[in-house]
Amino acid sequence: MMTEISLNILDVAENSTRAKASLVEITVDADFSADQLTVTIADNGCGMTPEQVERVTDPFFTSRTTRKVGLGVPFFKLAAESTGGSFSIQSQVGAGTTVTAVFILSHIDRMPLGDISSTIHTLVVYHPETDFVYRYRYNGREFTLDTREFKEILGDVPFSEPEVSAYILDFLNENKLETDGGAVY
């Protein structure tokens, strides 16, 4: 079981990179007036057939060959639905997949968001071949990280260079602080 929403995001976004997505868009939108936290992970990867989409929330279905269970998506679904929220997947073969999870913020069973900045940093730095657009919204304020902008500036300097990696983490942490004032939820 995941302990943080951010770890669910990391896990499901890993699926996008394995689906050979060249672009993964992750949106975390906390709206306290609506009492909702909406997480969207949209990719342009290989997509799934309607039959696969139907079975992907079944823990005993996986396309892997290393083991017989696939718990990533069921964990995310359960985490959202157990707060009274909702979960949906739209997918089309060849076009990509969009996963949307809505959490009710005030529900006692909602797990904390966790260290979302470090999670996005891990994704970005360890998947240099994939472009990421990360949008973080908090009560209407927002910031965006777009790795395509970074790559345009960096040219052949990789994200794994210590100074670049540190810059990306600072970018996420500082902009999150400006957006939500350091709120922990």
Binding site: T119, S160, E163, F171, N175
Partner: protein, 125 residues
């Protein structure tokens, strides 16, 4: 908001150094399992610890920390595999950031496998 101008400055500084560096086959490869099983057991802090220590100790030209999927030993996650050119692969199991630090010091820097954390030392049934 943090500006992109800072990134431009880093780029200018790094450019000359990076162009000298090609793909290096002498690297020690350290792979952290980051599938659902790994993440749920705490692989992310292990990955971050290894990656930060390698950078802090200026070992990035010797050690490459990467991530991998599930290798089918979910009950032993977080798993860290060490692949050194010319040597057998070493699989560390049930890792924590503290154990990872010890492996970095004693194995990756010191050259001695930390037997007590390896898969081969575990009582497998």
């Amino acid at each position: 908001m943090k500006s992109l101008a800072e990134l431009k400055a880093i780029r200018e500084k790094m450019q000359s150094q990076v162009s000298l560096r090609g793909e290096d086959h002498d690297h020690i490869r350290v792979m952290v399992g980051m599938a659902t099983c790994g993440i749920a057991s705490g692989a992310r802090p292990v990955l971050t610890t290894l990656s930060n220590l390698v950078q802090e100790k200026n070992l990035t030209d010797k050690i490459a920390v990467t991530q991998t999927g599930c290798i089918g030993l979910c009950q032993y996650e977080p798993i860290v595999e060490v692949m050194e050119p010319g040597k057998d692969k070493v699989t560390y199991i049930k890792m924590t950031p503290e154990k990872a630090e010890e492996v970095l010091e004693r194995h990756l820097i010191g050259g001695h496998v930390v037997e007590k954390y390896t898969l081969s030392s575990a009582d497998i049934k």
